[in-house]
């Protein structure tokens, strides 16, 4: 399988901040591969995701998406490239006053002419596709509800469908379950995993829960202070690795002693 994404020596230092948020980050992602990114708050997980679709400009290094160097692209080329990168947010980032259907259709805006996009003239083919995806995610009956009226788990599913409408080759998920209760979190993680498997979409998920990362991902990237300190199979992650990632002894990392020790 070929690499869908490749990061080479990527660094990011925000202006007015001495310590770099990302430091020489290097890794690649294969087609359909699901990757969990873990690390303490402020380790650079969000910055990493936003560098990949250049919502945040990397200061140094190259990023290749589907073998094209996106770090060299101009504004317009970048817009085209972004269509292939779906993004899912902790706070869902839906337009609360619009219906589920309208929010989902936003995933198509990048493919439409400016005039059609401004007036929201979505094609019937796209709308039919949206209905299919809403059916698959159990949201079809809510299609004309306002996004504000949905529960957190439902909102996140709308976010997932919106991202899938872009027909992405990769999904970037920024703490997708951090605001959800455990049951909804499970539904959302399963949905992300199953849809990515089925459609051969690669996926990078930022997570705070190590157990979730180990259960749902193929590979884990551990970050600390902007550096990748672990990059390997999610089943092989050891206690020592976790201590390195979180910079704390194991005893302080376990809440309630529930986590299965790897």
């Amino acid at each position: 399988m070929e690499n869908i994404l490749e990061l080479k020596n990527v660094s990011k230092t925000y202006s007015g901040n001495d310590a770099p948020s990302l430091q020489n980050v290097e890794f690649s992602v294969k087609e359909g591969e699901i990757i969990g990114v873990i690390g303490p708050s402020g380790a650079g997980k969000s910055t990493l995701l936003r560098c990949i679709n250049r919502l945040v400009e990397p200061s140094e290094g190259q990023i290749y998406l589907e073998n094209k160097e996106i770090t060299k692209m101009n504004h317009k080329q970048m817009k085209y490239a972004r269509r292939r990168v779906g993004m899912i947010f902790q706070h869902y980032n839906l337009v609360g006053r619009l219906t589920v259907m309208q929010n989902v259709m936003h995933g198509r805006l990048g493919y439409m002419s400016t005039a059609d996009a401004i007036f929201g003239n979505y094609s019937e083919v796209d709308k039919r596709h949206a209905l299919e995806l809403l059916e698959m995610t159990g949201l079809k009956e809510f299609r004309y509800h306002k996004a504000n009226d949905l529960s957190g788990g439902q909102k996140q599913r709308v976010g997932i469908v919106r991202a899938l409408m872009q027909e992405p080759c990769i999904l970037l998920c920024d703490e997708p379950i951090a605001s959800l209760d455990p049951a909804s979190a499970r539904v959302v993680m399963e949905l992300i995993r199953d849809l990515c498997r089925e459609k051969q979409i690669a996926c990078i998920v930022n997570l705070h829960q190590v157990d979730v990362a180990m259960e749902y991902t193929d590979r884990i990237i551990g970050m600390n202070s902007g550096k990748v300190v672990y990059n390997g199979g999610s089943k092989e992650l050891s206690g020592e690795d976790l201590e390195r990632i979180y910079g704390k002894p194991m005893g302080e990392l376990i809440v309630g002693g529930e986590r299965a020790n790897a």
Binding site: L55, R82, F89, L109, T114
Partner: protein, 267 residues
Amino acid sequence: MHKKEADKIAVASKESKRVMNIFLVVLAVLFIGATAFSKFNPFEMLATQGEFWRFITQDFLLPKFKNWGTLWDSIAETIAMAVGSTGVSAVIAFLLAFLGTSSICRLKSVNYVVRMVASVLRNIPALVWAFILVAAFGIGTETGVIALCVSTVGFLTRSFIETLDEVAGENMEALKSTGAGILPVISQSILPAALPGFIAWFLYCIETNIRASTILGMVGAGGIGLLMNGYIKQYNYHAASTVIIVVAVVIIGVNILTEYLRKITLK
């Protein structure tokens, strides 16, 4: 007793208690100072009550009025001034707001200029603008409308910018990440999200402008204020009181209407 006092557990820091005490002392000193400076005597107000009530009951009330036609025309004129100027201002402010918010217009210098101009326009009251414009354009409704527009554009631009800033962050990022251009992002995400805020500010301005246009009339900018001022200058207090009562009723009616509109639009 004193020992018990010392044993009490404080729930706030001594520092914040001290700040509070200083604040109260400063407030008291300011009140006394201001009262002395303005020679305002609260007891005098009570003592002169008799004269005041005589004026209200004898000279002012009961309302007596004949020129109802003129009154309705003036009321209509005042409402038209308020609604017209708010409408025009909203369109101008709508466009300016996009230039004034850094989340949409990236040119910091443009943001700055728009905000500066809006602040200047807003912070000079419509009444002052009316004074200046009456001197320049003469007496009339147009002058009133322009005066209201100037201050309302300033106010609404600032308010619209705040509304946009509030909704832009998350919504912007989500749609930008789909590869959508800035115009579709604005029309499909920012505008729907900002609309309730825009409508609320717009209705608020209609309310304040009805009140303001009443006062503007008194300096010659047309409408009901002009009529009222005329009666007061002729010592025709019974007619003036009629006008004042009608104005109050109209303003209350408009407030009820905007409250209702707010309820149905913000759902």
